[in-house]
Amino acid sequence: MKTFSDKTNGLLNFMELKQFRYRIIYGIMMALLIIVSLACLLPILWIVLSGFKTPAEMYSIPPQLLPSGFSLEPVKNIWVKVNFFKYFGNTLMEICGALIFDLVINGLAGYVLSRIRPKGSAVLETIVFGTMLLPSVSMVPLYMTFVNMPILHINLTGSFLPLWMQAGCNAFTIMLFRSFFNGIPMDYLEAARIDGCSNIKIFFKIILPLSKPIIVVETIFCVIYSWKNFMWPYLILGSTERETVSILLYQISSGSMSITMPEIMLVIMFSIIPPGLFYALFSKQIMGGMNMSGIKG
């Protein structure tokens, strides 16, 4: 347990925290933080609790904050009713593919720009950096691209491929990988090259094992982002057999499904639990990863 006497950093130090007026400031700050934390946690908690209410309890006057009992029956019913497992599986498919495309394509690009540096790297770097500068311009042209792929003339909507391709095309991630690989000493690679290793072999035998931290961070970002992703999955997979959890939530919100209020809340709860568990496991890495990635959100 840390105490005030350990505090040497920041605006206030341990000497000042002995004084009454600074203790007041500290107390106010802590109170404010508790309020903000509650504001972050309570809506989620309310959703979870309300999911167990009966529709009558939901609209009762005076309002009832807690459900009268917790039974797992409605949870099971709604799981079966909306066929949540299907949406869950589809989202997993989206995430796994996105992760592979993200790590392999962006990772290799970062590796090439950092360590192989073929002729013309400067041009490539300009392209990648320019991509970061480019804001999006309407969703239509990209949608048209997916409906009718150039040269191949095939329609990719209804498949996961457009989403995976988008994951494999992130200039920020390329730069993130590049700056990480820059930190791997060239000597390792030179030694391997003298021993006759090819570039691709070097990547898998030397670079990958050293890159665990960056892979963990990028995996976390990719999983969380893919789970949250809504607009493109909706445009590409909407009203097909491959709808994801976000699309299900949107259908519920737009009222195209007959479902009671507590049931809506249970579905929301289902959609939060998987990333919630993931977050609980990896929150340390997320906080660290944020520092590592700098501006990447």
Partner: protein
């Protein structure tokens, strides 16, 4: 001797060639995707916005007609004004909260980990789920949490999202709830690099809490605050999903944003040409902002 040198030279040339070749081969997928998904669509938008489209086929060159149609649309001015309102409220609500929370968390002796965990938690909630949660919180009548709480204070149920003047700030509150955790983490990282000796020196000179905050902490953070502000303006300028899910642009167009108009043009009314024209207009505006952002980022990221 000479032969050996030449041989060595030749070999190194061939390995260099092989190196270049494999380098390009490994980066090729990435370059192809960047071209296909990022660069080509920009060109397409500029090109097709000059045509009248039928479905996805250009049928007639119309010059700037699409732009004229989009800008002279009766709702256009209102939508621009709404978008500015979104940005304005996001700066009022969304800027100070993560900054002050980061400063306060940085001062905590115990509970740092918990506060970080709690404040970042909303970030992982799916965007549509966030919109739904807040839609339910704001729900009219006693079913909504806010109205339920008001009931206990003794105030009757109020209208929230269906109130024209409140709808945009309320959507921004939901968006802030969702997003401020990631901004906070970046502020926290930046706070770690404040030179502690400056605080010590200021203490010796008798500078109090506020003076230290004002003259040491704030100047140190000015760069990143500016950066986050521009980033937020760029993000909120394109806000689409939140109004789509929470209000559908209503009541009576009061929460229509440029992004949502763009979406409706394309996927509700099937007017791809107009959607792209509007896209080009916002693109030109955003590219200016992005340019400033990266100028600042280069300057401050060290």
């Amino acid at each position: 001797m000479k032969a050996l040198e030449a041989k060595k030279h030749k070999r190194s040339r061939s390995t260099r060639f092989r190196n270049n070749l494999s380098g390009w081969a490994l980066i090729l997928p990435s370059v192809l995707l960047l071209f296909l998904i990022v660069w080509r669509p920009v060109g397409m938008a500029f090109y097709y916005s000059l045509f009248r489209l039928q479905g996805m086929k250009a049928v007639e060159f119309v010059g700037l007609q699409n732009f004229k149609d989009v800008i002279t649309d009766t709702a256009f001015l209102q939508t621009v004004f709404n978008t500015v309102k979104y940005v304005f409220w996001s700066l009022i609500i969304g800027m100070p909260i993560p900054f002050f929370c980061a400063v306060m968390i940085n001062e905590m002796v115990v509970g740092k980990g918990f506060f970080k965990f709690a404040l970042y938690l909303p970030v992982i909630v799916p965007t549509v789920a966030t919109c739904l949660i807040w839609k339910l919180l704001y729900m009219d009548g006693e079913g909504g949490l806010i109205n339920a709480l008001l009931y206990f204070v003794g105030i009757g149920p109020a209208d929230w999202l269906s109130n024209k003047t409140l709808t945009i700030p309320l959507i921004i509150v939901a968006a802030t709830w969702q997003g401020f955790g990631s901004t906070l983490i970046m502020y926290l990282a930046a706070l770690q690099s404040v030179d502690q000796n400056l605080y010590e020196a200021a203490r010796i000179d008798g500078a109090g809490f506020w003076k230290r905050f004002w003259h040491i902490l704030l100047p140190h953070m000015r760069g990143i605050i500016l950066l986050m502000a521009i980033r937020q303006i760029i993000g909120v300028f394109q806000i689409t999903e939140q109004p789509l899910v929470m209000t559908g642009g209503g009541p009576n167009g009061a929460s229509m944003s440029l992004g949502l108009t763009n979406y409706f043009y394309a996927f509700q009314y099937g007017q791809f040409d107009k959607s792209m024209a509007l896209g080009v207009v916002s693109f030109l505006f955003l590219i200016g902002l992005t340019f400033i952002y990266f100028k600042l980022d280069r300057k401050f990221s060290e």
